[in-house]
């Protein structure tokens, strides 16, 4: 039976564990920073020399750490893209704008163990020659912002932050910057624009890749809270040890946020890929199953933007067989290992690690209408397909879910969504389109039936019952 | 396909034109007889006693173009000047309202012509103005008997065109827009 493997949240929920620096240090806090700063330079077998910073960057790359924010891109590779020759300062921004529906993992770290993030950030900044860094926290977390500010001043007082950190001559300043209720600030270039004091309009890429032209047109690293915390553990454990956690190419631990129709919603830190979706939902250690008498209908596996999975769906996963050859294995939804690659092969993504469970009492039309309203509200409106399409979807779904449906609405919705995905400045286009594409394709009968029923009701002159 | 028209030379009698003249006298005599008997109403279109008996025009007859109002009494024309552009004999002359002209008599149609003139002496009743009109504001109506004592009198102005045109109860798209905007309550629309 799988269990949690708590690394980042090891202490967070322990009785008596407090977010102050003394408590953190009692639990080994800031030792990783000391270790990182003391990293010796090293010579590679090919004779090339690595500075201590390069050694740490190399460790992060070797650890196989993948971004925990949504895209699951290798953190070490992301760092390696940074333009270090521009002569401009390099900035690091912690993306704490946790706003993907279903996700509440960063909240736990920020509220319960803020110093861990601060330590992870200081190490990451040092490893990337960053002198100025920001934590972009969502506006709806005022307590989190206060705790982080508190943690930063405590760290400053102890010499972990500020001028000449721990006597190494390294200077770093970190500031907390509050967002103000815009989901699009989670997109890294939108976040950068917002941090520059503008509307969070994502930038066009090319040319504005953050690693080259980011904050103030300087090279910039944007990492998720959990990713930066993981850096701290990679330094402590060493890349090899960290990479042994999880499964190949899906290393380490990650925090899964579980919500919706389960008995025990909550967050669980697991070794990546070491628990299946079924276990996460049904295992008493995790979700504890559905409410009595209910059956699973659908799950959204990686935050609301990921494509929905239907109960009973089967996927063909590529797996290494006993003889080392790649074989295709038919896998049921519930047997999907919860990792980056398996979910990608299942046509969806693990995104921000948030699972939303829906049981058989749920109406897929209404659920999708709810999500589409979210995306219509959160579209920044910069580029045409998303600005117009997101609201169009929401209006169509609102109509369908409130008695104004037509039998052709399923096709109508697919058509609109198809014209958004892949055509926008940022990935919000996909985020808005994917739920629609997947819900309507996988539950097409529900959508068509809803539309037909409305048509028939209208033909009979009946005012639809569910119109509020 | 070529149709061959009979052009055989006239006979001697035909060349005297007497048979045709006699035929004409016969028709006249018949009508004379009917008039005397008091039975002079025309039974068919071609033989009416115009102007005593007005010509009964068929459905879809293309007479003079007039402007129409909508069912609320508002001028439908928005001075887009497409009819002026398309008019083959250049019979239409529109004076747009300009920046400080009067607004439309419907709140959100924004404009209507300051003056709209059709020179009925030039008009060839072709119907292109009606066809091109995006507002269903001008229609060829069933008037064919246009008379006047001067050229000036034959230039119909906006007021006259609207008076002659009457009401056309069509889709009131500007009104519909206004209603839709009103139903939206506020701008920007608040989420919820």
């Amino acid at each position: 039976m799988p269990n949690e493997h708590r690394l980042i949240l090891k202490h967070a929920d322990q009785a008596g564990y407090t977010p102050d620096i003394e408590c953190y240090q009692r639990h080994g806090g800031y030792e990783a920073l000391r270790k990182a700063l003391a990293t010796p330079a090293r010579e590679l077998p090919d004779g090339k020399k690595q500075t201590p910073q390069e050694v740490v960057r190399d460790e992060v790359l070797k650890s196989g750490l993948r971004g925990r924010g949504g895209a699951g891109f290798s953190a070490g590779l992301k760092w390696s893209f940074v333009d270090r020759k521009s002569g401009k300062p390099i900035y690091l921004v912690c993306n704490a704008d946790e706003s993907e529906p279903g996700t509440f993992k960063d909240r736990q770290i920020i509220h319960k163990d803020p110093h861990q993030l601060v330590e992870g950030m200081i190490i990451s900044c040092w490893a990337n020659d960053v002198r100025l860094a920001y934590i972009y926290i969502r506006g709806e977390m005022p307590h989190g912002a206060r705790l982080l500010n508190q943690a930063l001043s405590e760290a400053r007082a102890k010499g972990f932050l500020g001028k000449n950190i721990l006597g190494t001559g390294y200077d770093l300043e970190i500031h907390v910057h509050r967002g103000a209720g815009a989901y699009i600030c989670g997109e890294e270039t939108g976040l950068i624009e917002s941090l520059e004091g503008k509307r969070a309009y994502p930038r066009i890429k090319p040319p504005y890749f953050p690693a080259v032209l980011g904050l103030y047109m300087s090279p910039t690293i944007v990492n998720n809270v959990e990713t930066l915390c993981a850096v701290r553990h990679i330094v402590t454990m060493g890349a090899g040890e960290y990479a042994r956690l999880g499964t190949p190419n899906n290393t380490g631990t990650r925090i899964v946020s579980l919500s919706g129709d389960v008995v025990r919603p909550g967050y669980f830190e697991i070794e990546v890929g070491k628990a299946t979706i079924g276990e996460l939902i049904f295992d008493p250690n995790f979700g504890g199953g559905l409410k009595p008498g209910r059956k699973l209908k659908a799950i959204i596996p990686g935050g609301s933007s990921s494509k929905v999975l239907k109960a009973g769906e089967k996927f063909r996963l590529k797996r290494k067989g006993a003889d080392g050859q790649m074989v295709q294995v038919e896998t049921d939804l519930l047997d999907l290992p919860y990792d980056f690659d398996s979910l990608q092969q299942a046509g969806t993504m693990s995104g921000s690690g948030a699972i939303i469970v829906m049981d058989d009492t749920r109406d897929m039309v209404d659920a999708l209408a709810n999500l589409s309203e979210f995306y219509a509200h959160e579209s920044c409106g910069q580029c045409t397909p998303c600005r117009e399409g997101a609201l169009w979807l929401a209006k169509g779904l609102e109509r369908l879910s409130h008695g104004g449906g037509r039998s052709e609405d399923a096709e109508y919705l697919l058509h609109i969504a198809q014209n958004i995905q892949g055509r926008t400045i940022c990935a919000f286009g996909e985020a808005a389109a994917w739920p629609v594409l997947s819900f309507v394709k996988k539950f097409k009968d529900d959508f068509v039936a809803r539309g037909k029923a409305d048509e028939e009701a209208r033909a009979r002159g009946v005012v639809p019952a569910h119109h509020h | 396909m070529t149709k061959v028209v009979d052009r055989s030379p006239l006979t001697f009698y035909e060349r005297t034109y007497l048979p045709a003249i006699l035929e004409g006298i016969k028709v006249t005599a018949r009508h004379f007889a009917r008039t005397v008997k008091g039975d002079n109403t025309a039974k068919d279109l071609s033989g009416g006693y115009y102007p005593e008996t007005p010509w009964k025009v068929s459905e879809g007859y293309r007479g003079a173009p007039y402007l129409v109002r909508d069912q609320d009494g508002a001028t439908k024309c928005v001075s887009c000047q497409l009819c002026e552009f398309v008019c083959p004999p250049k019979a239409i002359k529109i004076t747009p309202p300009g920046p400080d002209g009067p607004g439309a008599d419907r709140s959100n149609a924004e404009k209507m012509p300051r003056e709209f003139e059709i020179n009925m002496l030039r008009c060839i009743f072709c119907g292109l103005c009606q066809e091109v009109c995006p507002e269903e504001a001008i229609f060829l109506q069933r008037d064919y008997s246009l008379t006047g004592l001067s050229r000036e009198e034959m230039v119909y102005n906006k007021e006259k065109l609207l008076r002659l045109g009457g009401v056309h109860a069509g889709v009131q798209k500007w009104k519909h827009k206004a209603e839709e905007a009103f139903a939206q309550e506020t701008f920007p629309v608040k989420a919820g």
Binding site: C383, E388, A390 | P99
Partner: protein, 569 residues
């Protein structure tokens, strides 16, 4: 200031070329091309397509504005040579041609993916499928999106006829809309500033206006307010959008969102005859297009000329056209106050000049007259030994286009020798000459000299006052011979702008009443006096002048083109 206005570029240094294919046709394009500021940047797909003669539709892109990439209209499908990930070598087909990889969605490899042509740099061997079915579908979809909340009120929209939404709908759109929801209704007839009216419903949020006013005009006055589908262009509450360049946003606006209050509901653009001309409000000489119908000028619009004004012009110049239609225009030839005709008036002028003793005649010819006219004045004056000058007109300059010299042809006046470097220095001398009775005949073209140093009392001392002008003034009131003149829109000719750009302008409308282009009677007088050989047309006159004036040596009317030619000044 931006580099919107640049002089003709110096001989370009050789730029590396790369080969790309546009719609299957291979072309060679420079690796870098000038961006909106003229700085070399990697050539974009859109620029490459343009060089290949393939039009890529767009709304937000404008060659003289920073790239925004938000309208998505220029999405195109493309292929790049396939690379072997291991060897980093191109993969080749059996026939040796490079194997191409079509751009596809990473998560849906069967679905083509577009790139915005306005911002995506080309790479060697790239193939741009500017008219492939996938590209067409993307355009169709973007247009559909732009139209769902658009009011479709073309009949009342001033932009109709020059609207990109209309044009692209015809070229790339669908006949029917699938949209069955209620449209978003945004503010209409928003009073954005003294010259601009905004209809937010028509706006496609391309942000050209915002970028123009921020990055070109230097007045960060516009922005987008609200969010998502409710986004609207606005100025800050209580702030008026009123800099001297606001009307350029009307030209830039690809749709009918920003319209000119001056032109509002005045005339449908398809009736307008477009005549290339030059603005006369200052010595910058912005190139303009005069829009007129049936003898009435309805608007000026800037005409792009990178050597002068780029694609812009100032509001004050643009709106300075109403005087052409003033009801009090001089439109009758008068001799000693009585209506006359051109034959009588011209022969009167000839005879009084012919009989005049040397030094008894002076000319004040406005630097608003054409170069040809000024040259004729100078030739006649030389024949008569007469003093000549123009009246200087100074005002405020700005850092973009407006120059302090408010005469459109000061340089023409100087080059032809009518005035000296310091314009107006001779006028006091002329005044003294009249005072002393030495000067008994004064010929004035296009000036009210009572405001320029020769007052009414002095004019009254003259034996002969010949005045050619457009509008009445105390000087024209005092004229013994009054010759109604033409506005620039009513004749042809050239102006030489402050930087020495010789620019020709064409006739847009017929002159008012008996008014006649000044060069016509000036030439008759000059020929009669033996000062010049006759030319039958403005072309001939210009060429004759160019042969005579050293600074214009070698120029020909035909060579001036619509963009003019620079001469040293």
């Amino acid at each position: 200031m931006s580099n919107a206005v640049t002089n003709a570029p110096a001989a370009p240094s050789p730029v590396e070329k790369i080969r790309v294919k546009v719609d299957g046709r291979e072309i060679e394009v420079p690796k870098t091309m000038p961006d909106w500021q003229g700085k070399p940047q990697p050539t974009t797909m859109l620029q490459a397509c343009k060089l290949a003669g393939v039009e890529v539709p767009h709304y937000c892109y404008h060659p003289k504005l920073p790239v925004a990439g938000n309208c998505r209209m220029c999405l195109v499908e493309f292929s790049t040579p396939m690379m072997d990930p291991a060897t980093r070598k191109p993969v080749v087909n059996e026939d040796g041609s490079p194997k191409m990889a079509r751009s596809v969605l990473p998560y849906e490899p069967q679905t083509p993916r577009g790139a915005i042509a306005c911002a995506t740099p080309i790479s060697p061997g790239m193939e741009i499928h500017a008219s492939s079915p996938a590209t067409k579908q993307m355009r169709e979809a973007v247009l559909e999106s732009l139209l769902i909340n658009h009011p479709l009120d073309c009949p009342i929209c001033d932009q109709a006829g020059e609207c990109k939404l209309q044009e692209y709908s015809v070229q790339h759109g669908q006949a029917a809309s699938r949209f069955v929801e209620a449209k978003v209704h945004k503010p209409k007839a928003v009073d954005l500033g003294p010259r601009i009216m905004l209809d937010d419903e028509r706006c496609v949020l391309c942000t050209r206006c915002i970028r123009f006013t921020r990055d070109i005009a230097g007045d960060d006055a516009l922005g987008i307010v609200n969010r998502g589908s409710y986004n609207t262009i606005a100025s800050a509450p209580g702030r008026s959008f009123d800099n001297n360049y606001t009307l350029n946003t009307v030209d830039l606006c690809p749709v009918g969102a920003l319209t000119s209050k001056d032109f509002r509901f005045k005339m449908r653009v398809w009736f307008l005859k477009e005549t290339p001309s030059v603005c006369t409000s200052c010595s910058t000489g912005c190139n303009i297009t005069v829009g007129s119908r049936e003898g009435v000028v309805h608007r000026y619009e800037p005409r792009e000329n990178d050597a002068v004004n780029g694609p812009w012009m100032c509001d004050s110049g643009r709106l300075n056209y109403r005087w052409i239609q003033r009801p009090d225009r001089l439109d009758t030839v008068k001799l000693r106050g009585a209506p006359s005709d051109w034959a009588a008036a011209t022969s009167a002028v000839v005879s009084l000049l012919r009989g005049a003793p040397k030094g008894s005649v002076a000319f004040v010819a406005s630097a608003r007259q054409t170069t040809e006219e000024l040259w004729l004045v100078s030739r006649i004056a030389r024949q008569l030994g007469a003093l000549t000058d123009s009246v200087p007109r100074e005002g405020e300059a700005d850092r973009l286009l407006v120059s302090a010299d408010k005469n459109p042809n000061s340089q023409g006046s100087r080059l032809t020798g009518v005035s000296f470097t310091e314009m107006g220095v001779t006028i006091p001398e002329i005044a003294r000459g009249i005072e002393a009775g030495r000067i008994r005949t004064l010929v004035v073209l296009g000036e009210d000299v009572t405001k320029g140093g020769i007052d009414a009392a002095l004019l009254a001392r003259l034996e002969n006052l010949v005045v050619a002008d457009i509008l009445p003034s105390p000087t024209s009131e005092a004229a013994h011979v009054l010759l109604p003149g033409c506005a620039h829109a009513e004749k042809r000719g050239t102006f030489v702008n402050g930087k020495g750009r010789v620019q020709r302008f064409q006739k847009a409308i017929e002159p008012r009443g008996e008014a006649r282009a000044e060069w016509e009677w000036l030439q008759e007088v000059a020929v009669a006096l033996g000062a010049v050989e006759p030319s039958r047309s403005i072309e001939g006159l210009f060429n004759r002048m160019a042969a005579d004036v050293p600074a214009l040596a070698g120029l020909e009317w035909a060579r001036l083109g619509d963009q003019g030619v620079s001469v040293p000044v």
